[in-house]
């Protein structure tokens, strides 16, 4: 067997914070062969990103590589002098970063940015080219990432490009110097599903055409199936198991991998959960809702939306960013007013201090005040409904039991809690004043898939115990498939399709729905086969342009 391109052996890395040292990588060993596509998969804190940083050499200052070796094409990287190691960046391996907006300086044009990178890399190699030559090379690279109108892209500022286009430019940036190994850190995670799908296709295509190897870092098992030949599963800094992609996804041998696969909401197949439709009367009826932001020629965010929310159901409002789903939810909550249309609520008016609706935000990190303890956070709504003394205390304990958190957590600050625990606190706060309707604004988008599973289970139990009605806003269709009893798909402010979830998924009529479902990364080949087909013409008609 020939020498693998990248060989990581017995890598141990530890971090020191606040005078305490802890190991984040434990004897990590794996290889990436020439032309091979390997995925490092794991949840938050598994050490996958640290591994990538150790390879590239961008570990933070408080990290120490205590032992192990990283060999690139047979040469030991860790022993190299600094300059030599720097020279590997871009030429030997390149990194595609996660956030396409944060990677660009907003005051430079794309062309200037690319030109700078190219000029410095040339300088390092002791070559020099004229500006025109560099411009030609940049144009060639941009064409490689399917940005055909290179002139326009080069003269654009980062804010003038769509997220997908920026991600393409980032990939182009990584390709400037024909690297042998492409390291991709969660590419497209910050983008819509349909855009992410196209980005993954592009990476796949480029890896083959440029004869590169790929090291993909991701938390999404569906992405893994799409772009990897071999999978390395990481957990708590350890490698749990390694094997061919199909093998791991079909017959995982380790319990952790099994649990991880189990937590992924299925799109089709026997594991899919069907929620029964509610036969109760409607609680919210929306008729001809329009919302225009700005005065004259404003942005038409919501167009003629009609919607019925029945009591006790889980209604899903699906759509990509900018589709208007959040605007609809905010209008239902009374946080913003409709430009036209009516909302009729068929429920007794809530008592003083209480609200009919409450919301659980997407990111519990920003929806809990970092300077207030759980107790203080929960006291607020209880005080507003006039509870005090022993009654408040009893209700607070009851709420903590409801969201399955120990009562000792009441005195903790948000930074002492994990993401899932924080979201439970946010749910407890929303439930404190006994609302009838809970708006769930992508409640699990910021959480790991296994944590998502527990939070979703909790929400389903709560709905049964308390007889709540949920309005879930999300772009994650596979999650909605298993959580919502009815669903509506929004595109550019309009509802293009709605119906019972089972029906919409079994027989999507609108091409956009089909494109959306088809773009979801799934874990099994079976689900892939069952996805609806979308023609190229439909794709171009309804999806956001990511080329130009």
């Amino acid at each position: 067997m020939t020498e693998p391109l990248l060989k990581v052996e017995g890598l141990n890395v530890s971090f020191t914070t606040y005078g305490r040292t802890r190991k984040v990588l434990n004897d990590v060993s794996f290889t990436v062969g020439a032309g091979e596509r390997v995925a490092l998969i794991g949840e938050t804190g598994s050490g996958k990103s640290v591994t990538a940083k150790a390879i590239i050499g961008t570990l933070p200052k408080n990290a120490v590589v205590s032992s192990g070796s990283i060999a690139f094409a047979g040469r030991e990287v860790l022993a190299m002098p600094r300059g030599e190691r720097e020279a590997l960046k871009g030429t030997a391996f390149s990194l595609i970063m996660q956030d396409p907006l944060a990677s660009f300086n907003p005051v430079f044009k794309i062309g200037t940015h690319l030109d700078d990178v190219m000029r410095f890399a040339d300088k390092r190699e002791g070559k020099s080219f004229s500006k025109a030559e560099r411009r030609n090379r940049i144009a060639a690279v941009l064409r490689r990432v399917q940005l055909a109108d290179t002139e326009r892209v080069m003269n654009a500022y980062p804010s003038e490009l769509s997220g997908g286009m920026r991600q393409r430019v980032l990939i182009g940036l990584a390709l400037l110097h024909q690297p042998k190994l492409l390291i991709a850190d969660e590419p497209g995670t910050a983008l819509d599903v349909t855009t992410q799908d196209e980005i993954l296709n592009l990476i796949n295509q480029l890896v083959v055409e440029e004869k590169m190897s790929l090291l993909m870092i991701t938390h999404n098992l569906g992405v893994v199936r799409k772009v990897a030949d071999r999978v390395v599963v990481m957990h708590h800094g350890d490698i749990v198991e390694t094997g061919p992609c199909a093998e791991i996804l079909k017959h995982p041998s380790q319990a952790y991998t099994k649990a991880l696969l189990d937590a992924v909401p299925p799109l089709y197949g026997p594991r899919v959960l069907d929620l029964p439709a509610s036969d109760k009367p409607p609680i919210v009826t929306i008729d001809g809702l329009n919302k225009i932001y700005g005065r004259r020629n404003g942005y038409h965010a919501v167009r003629d939306v009609n919607l019925v929310l029945k009591e006790g159901e889980v209604f899903g409002l699906a759509g990509e960013s900018g589709s208007g789903k959040t605007s609809v939810a905010r209008i239902i909550m009374g946080l913003s007013s409709a430009t036209s249309g009516t909302i009729s609520i068929d429920a007794p008016a809530p008592a003083k201090g209480r609200r009919l609706t409450q919301i659980v935000y997407q990111n519990p990190g920003t929806s809990l005040n970092p300077k207030r303890t759980v107790r203080q956070t929960l006291t607020l709504p209880l005080k507003a409904i006039g509870l005090d003394g022993a009654a408040r205390l009893a209700r607070m304990n009851e709420l903590m039991d409801l969201v399955r958190l120990p009562q000792s957590y009441l005195s903790k600050y948000p930074h002492e809690l994990s993401g899932g625990q924080k979201q439970r606190v946010a749910i407890a706060r929303a439930l404190a004043a006994e609302p009838k309707i809970l708006i769930l604004d992508e409640p699990t988008a910021a959480l790991d898939v296994s944590v998502q599973k527990t939070v979703i289970e909790l929400l389903l139990q709560l709905r049964e115990e308390l007889g709540l009605t949920y309005l879930m806003i999300s772009h994650d269709l596979s999650l909605m498939r298993n959580f919502c009893s009815r669903i509506a798909i929004m595109l550019r402010g309009e509802i293009v399709e709605d119906g019972a979830t089972t029906q919409v998924f079994a027989n999507p009529t609108h091409p956009y729905t089909r494109a959306l479902i088809a773009a979801i990364p799934v874990v099994t080949d079976e689900e892939e086969r069952l996805k609806p087909s979308v023609s190229e013409e439909e794709r171009t008609r309804f999806l956001v342009k990511t080329t130009d």
Binding site: Y18, V24, H235, H236, L335, N363, Q376, L380, P381, R429
Partner: protein
């Protein structure tokens, strides 16, 4: 609930107080600044017991001892009427600290409250308050302070009033900017939905998040206030003689430069020492809180 334990769990187990102490103890400028300020405060508070000639604060005249250079009895030498400069300098620190407490004690709360109101409510309150601060900031501070203390009688109280009238604008502006960005956070909306009133939101939700910025700014400002106060009394608009003030002591000694250098240098060094303490602590706090200037 088998929630996947995250790796930074060890961080989470740490209390906020421990993390603060850890950062503080590993931050040389915060530690040195604190030590300097501690020594200044102790000297100022216990001045009557720590100084060799506490009576020299008043109108004592001893012409036999005038212009004595520093020695073991008079550590900082004596001035033109034979008073011990060390004793007077230590008592001068009292005046400086009183000035800091007086000025910042009024201008920080006033500025912070106005800033919070402008940042959270927006609308006309925002226009009014930010307009007012802009006008105030456009005036040259020294001229403004001179005008105020000229209108009133020159004494410590009026110097304080003059400086306070200017100083609140800086805090108002800073807190306005910070609270405006905090006001758009999800947790503020969540608090409103939970039934919180504006008073609760301003002082319980937004203000605690402004404390890091506010404490850094206040500490750095203390140094400015001391310098500003010293400038005013140097120009004769501050504390009335014979009460010792660092600024007026420098002004008094100025005419005897360079022969009797200690009369300027020693009170000047005290100003330097104190402002250095505040500046070091302010810088240290900024690093500890990780606040962008």
């Amino acid at each position: 609930m088998a929630e996947i334990k995250m790796l930074d769990a060890s961080d989470r187990g740490l209390s906020g107080g421990y993390m603060m102490w850890y950062r503080f103890s590993r931050n040389p400028s915060a530690v040195i600044g604190t030590l300097i300020l501690l020594s200044v405060v102790i000297l100022a508070v216990f001045a009557p017991f720590l100084t060799p000639f506490p009576k020299h604060v008043g109108a004592v005249v001893d012409f036999r001892a005038r212009h004595l250079p520093p020695d073991w009895t008079h550590w900082f030498g004596t001035d033109k009427v034979g008073r011990d400069i060390f004793s007077r300098t230590v008592f001068g620190l009292r005046i400086s600290l009183l000035l800091v407490i007086g000025v910042l004690g009024i201008s920080v709360p006033v500025g912070a409250i106005l800033g919070l109101i402008a940042g959270y409510f927006g609308g006309w309150s925002e226009k009014l308050i930010s307009g007012l601060t802009n006008v105030m900031l456009a005036m040259p501070p020294l001229v403004m302070a001179l005008a105020v203390s000229n209108l009133l009688e020159p004494n410590l109280m009026n110097a304080m009033i003059a400086i306070t009238l200017l100083w609140w604008t800086w805090h108002a502006r800073l807190i306005y900017a910070v609270s405006k960005s905090i006001a758009s956070e999800d947790y503020i909306e969540a608090a409103r939905l939970a039934g919180a009133g504006p008073i609760h939101i301003l002082f319980r939700e937004i203000l605690p998040n402004c404390i890091p910025v506010l404490s850094v700014k206040t500490t750095l400002d203390a140094a400015f206030v001391i310098l500003f106060g010293a400038t005013l009394s140097f120009l004769g608009f501050g504390v009335k003689p014979p009460i010792p003030d660092l600024g007026s002591m420098v002004a008094d000694g100025r005419q005897f430069m360079p022969d009797y250098w200690w009369e300027v240098l020693c009170p000047g060094a005290a100003v330097l020492y104190t402002t250095l303490g505040f500046n070091l602590l302010g810088d240290g706090l900024r690093d500890m809180f990780d606040v962008e200037s």
